[in-house]
Symmetry: C2
Subunit: 198 residues, 2 copies
Amino acid sequence: MREFVLIHNHAPTDPDAVRLKDLPGSGRFDLACRFVTQTLLYSHGVRTDTVAHLVLNGPPNPPVTITVNGSRVRRLYPDERTTAVHLRRALAADPDTEPHPGIFVRRIGLEELLEEKKGAKIYYLAEDGTDITEIDPEPDSVFILGDHEGPTEEQDELLRRKAHATVSLGPVPYHADQCVVIVHNHLDRRHPPDYASP
Amino acid sequence: MREFVLIHNHAPTDPDAVRLKDLPGSGRFDLACRFVTQTLLYSHGVRTDTVAHLVLNGPPNPPVTITVNGSRVRRLYPDERTTAVHLRRALAADPDTEPHPGIFVRRIGLEELLEEKKGAKIYYLAEDGTDITEIDPEPDSVFILGDHEGPTEEQDELLRRKAHATVSLGPVPYHADQCVVIVHNHLDRRHPPDYASP
């Protein structure tokens, strides 16, 4: 299973703070939406072998982790707005529930999520990392990314300690959702998923 | 200069048909928006060496080509909605004008655009193409993509005739905006742009 984690330190944890008419002004919620769709969608399909974890650390009630599981999710579309509606509904739901098929919400943060993934290979995406073509991650890996301002110092330290390797994707710094697309393409080529063409 | 062309056969050419609350239902205008932002933005910057051409062939007045030039564009943000507002304003403007800095609108279609690019190397992205790693396109190239339903038979024929090569990006079919990210990453690695880190 491929797993991607976005540590989003600015995205609100109150559903009423997510304004559909101004997702960027809602703690860069647009980034959270694109992260989910680029992690889980390819042309005309959902990546059934992939999971997206959003660790939301914005006000007023951090942390909240929303997990979208590609093998179960329904009605996930590529645009930001419909995804924002799904995520907002998850924020409004009781913790430890599945308010929409394949979308789970929990009151845990990065440390607890990392603890859960202890058995898996964890790759931390950072500009000073080793190039992905040299590292060649396994398909069953967890890739962790920061938001537009990057992880905090403490998060960075924790991630470097827990990660199997830090990974870079080339000489240009990319948005988190662009990083996901590039990592997927790397893995698709080396470890074609079931939904790849033969 | 890197140039990307999206042939969008469903996107409306009437600004009033672009509903910001339902971009997917507005002839998949969400795809047009993501194509522009993924073509021109990287983390905290605009790709000043890159141009996005949107060839819109939807009702009621096709064709319309909107060109967004990375070296001139102002106030381009990564989210779909603000980009939709820019593009809608371009559709409302008189043809052959620059209604917003770096955004140009013209009443031309694919054939005329290809005629303009006659001197450049043209690459047509198609699933049956040669892998991009084998082709290794030059940085000064034009990459042409279809929308969610792909080019028509006539467009496909024209493109195969005019293109230097047809290019594939791996075994999984991607959304047009995901293709752009993958092509950029390929070029960034082989021909680092000015804004790449040293």
